[in-house]
C-alpha cells in the first residue's frame, strides 16, 4: 500500500466508521423506543442528537483534551519562560525541526509541544493538517541527536499528512459517544423495560429473546469499536515510517531513533491509555506489541520494533550511499 492509497483508505475507513456509528445509534435508539418509550422516533432521534453532538464536540476539542491529559506544554511558551541554556537550545531545536519537516511536506507547520516525561516518546494529534499538533517527551529531546529527532518528527508529520490523525480523532470521538449512549441505554433498560415486557404475556418469550440479543449488542459494540480502532492503527506505523524516510531522505536516522526509544523500557506514564495508538512507540510497553499474528494482530497498537527498524534499514540500502538530501524525484 503506498501513501496515496493510504490516504484514500483513510477517507473510505472514515466514512465506514461514521456509517457504522449512525447504524449503531439508530439500533440503540429504536431498541429503546420499542422496549421502553413505546413511541418510535423519540429515543432514536434523541440517541442520534446526543451521540452526534458528543462526537462533534470531541472531534473539535479532542486534540486539546489529549494534549492536556498528557500535560503537554507548547514549546513557544516554554521558550518564552526563559529556561536554562541546555533546555533553551533543545526547545529551539524542536521548533526548528518541526518547521523543517513541515517545509519538506509542503504543509503548514504544526504546533510543537513538550511532555514532561523522561521516557522517549512522541505523538501527533488534530483534525486536519491545518489544526495539527506534534508532542514529544522531554526524554526524547534529551536522548536523540538532531537527525534522529528529525526522523521522529517526520514520522509524526507522516501521520498528519496521511490524515491518520483525523481518522484517529473521529474514531476516538465516536467510540466515546458509543460508550456514552450504550451506558445511557443500559440504565434506562434496567429501570424500564423488564416490567413492561412481562406484562404482555403473548409476546413475552419472543420479546425476552430480542431484549437479550439487544443487550449483548449494546455491551459488545464499544469493544468492537475499540478493536476497529486498533486494527487500523498498526499498518499506519509502517507507512508513517516510510513517510519519514520520504521527507528526510534519511531512514537510518529514524532507525537509530527507534532503537534508542526501544531501549528505554519504562512506560511513558504521562501519556494516557486512550492516546496510545497515536504514539510513535507503545507508551505502555506491552509485550503484545512485540509479536505478530493471531491474538497479537487483534490487540497490538504497534508493529514489532525490530521489523520497523529492519524495514527502514532496507530503505537506506535501496537509496544507496550517494543519494543527497535534495535529490530530484528519488522517493524512498
Amino acid at each position: 500500500m503506498n501513501l496515496l492509497e493510504q490516504e484514500a483508505f483513510n477517507r473510505r475507513r472514515t466514512w465506514e466508521v461514521m456509517a457504522a456509528f449512525v447504524v449503531f445509534l439508530v439500533l440503540i435508539g429504536a431498541g429503546l423506543d420499542i422496549f421502553v418509550v413505546g413511541a418510535f422516533p423519540v429515543a432514536t432521534l434523541g440517541a442520534l442528537a446526543v451521540g452526534g453532538g458528543s462526537a462533534l464536540l470531541t472531534y473539535r476539542t479532542g486534540d486539546r483534551m489529549i494534549l492536556a491529559s498528557s500535560h503537554a506544554q507548547p514549546v513557544d511558551e516554554l521558550l518564552a519562560a526563559s529556561p536554562g541554556e541546555d533546555d533553551q537550545l533543545r526547545y529551539r531545536q524542536l521548533q526548528n525541526v518541526v518547521e523543517e519537516v513541515a517545509i519538506a511536506s509542503g504543509l503548514p507547520a504544526p504546533r510543537a509541544f513538550v511532555i514532561p516525561d523522561d521516557d522517549p516518546n512522541a505523538f501527533a494529534t488534530g483534525r486536519d493538517p491545518a489544526h495539527a499538533s506534534i508532542a514529544v517527551t522531554a526524554g526524547l529531546l534529551r536522548s536523540l541527536n538532531r537527525e534522529e529527532l528529525q526522523g521522529v518528527v517526520a514520522h509524526e508529520m507522516g501521520h498528519v499528512r496521511n490524515f491518520d490523525i483525523r481518522l484517529m480523532m473521529i474514531v476516538s470521538a465516536l467510540v466515546g459517544a458509543v460508550v456514552l449512549i450504550a451506558d445511557w441505554a443500559g440504565r434506562s433498560l434496567r429501570y424500564g423495560s423488564f416490567g413492561r415486557g412481562r406484562r404482555g404475556k403473548d409476546a413475552g418469550a419472543a420479546m425476552l429473546i430480542i431484549v437479550a440479543i439487544w443487550i449483548v449488542a449494546v455491551v459488545l459494540a464499544p469493544i468492537a469499536a475499540q478493536l476497529m480502532a486498533l486494527c487500523v492503527s498498526r499498518q499506519r506505523e509502517y507507512l508513517a515510517d516510510a513517510s519519514s524516510a520520504e521527507l528526510t531522505r534519511n531512514p537510518l536516522a529514524l532507525a537509530s531513533a527507534l532503537e534508542k526509544i526501544d531501549e528505554a523500557t519504562a512506560p511513558t506514564t504521562a501519556i494516557k491509555k486512550g492516546s496510545a495508538a497515536l504514539c510513535i512507540a507503545d507508551p505502555n510497553e506491552r509485550p503484545v506489541n512485540e509479536r505478530e499474528g493471531g491474538w497479537s494482530n487483534l490487540w497490538a497498537t504497534h508493529p514489532p520494533m525490530a521489523k520497523r527498524i529492519a524495514a527502514l534499514q532496507a530503505m537506506a540500502y535501496q537509496s544507496g550511499p550517494g543519494s543527497g538530501s535534495s535529490g530530484a524525484a528519488a522517493r524512498g
Binding site: E85, Q88, L89, R92, Q93, N96, V97, E99, E100, V101, I103, A104, S105, G106, R146, Q150, L247, R249, G324, S325, S326, G327, A328, A329
Partner: protein
C-alpha cells in the same frame, strides 16, 4: 435524438478539458509557490550570516580569510541576477558557510559559547530548510512537468513553460567540502 447525444458528448468533453486545464494551473501555481519558499529560506540565511560572523569574529583571529570569504560570498549571492546565477552563487555561499562551521569546531571556547551554539543551530536549521524547500520544489515541479508533457493533458499545455529543476550546479558542490584542519587553534 442524435443531436442530443452529440451535445452531451460535447459538454462532457468540455468539462473534461476544463478539469485538465485547472489541474495544470493548480500545479503551476504550486510550483511557483514552491520556488518562492526557497527564496524565503535563502533570505533567512542572508540575515543570519552577519550575526554569526560578528559572534565568532573575536575568537577567530586566525580565520580572517574564512570570515571575509563568507561575507563576500553573501554579498555576491544577494546581488545575483536570475535563477541560474543565484543557484550558483548560493551554492558557493553554502560551501564557504560549511567551511566556517567546520572550522568553528576547532575552537573549544566557541563550541561552549551559548550564543554560538544557538547561531549554529539556527544556521544548520536554515540549511536544512533550504534543502527541504528545494526538495519539495523539485517534487512538485516534476509533477507539473509530467502533467504538462504526458498525453492527453499535453494537448492543453501549450501556454505552460517547463519548470526547471534544482540540480547540483557544479562539481565543487557535489564534493564534500574539504576543510584544512592542520592549523591548530590557539590554546
Amino acid at each position: 435524438m442524435g443531436l442530443i447525444v452529440l451535445l452531451v458528448i460535447i459538454v462532457l468533453i468540455a468539462f473534461w478539458a476544463m478539469a485538465i486545464y485547472n489541474r495544470l494551473v493548480t500545479l503551476r501555481n504550486e510550483t511557483q509557490n514552491g520556488w518562492r519558499q526557497i527564496d524565503v529560506q535563502l533570505k533567512r540565511r542572508h540575515d543570519l550570516i552577519p550575526n554569526l560572523v560578528n559572534t565568532v569574529k573575536g575568537e577567530m583571529d586566525f580565520e580572517k580569510n574564512t570570515l571575509t570569504a563568507v561575507m563576500d560570498a553573501r554579498s555576491r549571492a544577494m546581488s545575483a541576477s536570475g535563477p541560474a546565477d543565484a543557484a550558483r552563487k548560493e551554492g558557493e555561499l553554502g560551501s564557504v558557510l560549511g567551511r566556517l562551521l567546520a572550522v568553528t569546531e576547532n575552537y573549544p571556547q566557541l563550541k561552549s559559547n551559548e550564543n554560538v551554539k544557538m547561531l549554529q543551530e539556527e544556521l544548520s536549521s536554515t540549511e536544512n530548510k533550504i534543502g527541504f524547500a528545494r526538495q519539495f520544489y523539485n517534487d512538485i515541479a516534476t509533477k507539473f512537468n509530467i502533467a504538462r508533457e504526458t498525453f492527453p493533458s499535453s494537448l492543453l499545455a501549450g501556454g505552460f513553460t517547463r519548470a526547471e529543476l534544482f540540480a547540483v550546479t557544479d562539481d565543487a558542490d557535489r564534493a564534500v567540502p574539504t576543510v584544512d584542519l592542520s592549523m591548530k587553534p590557539p590554546a
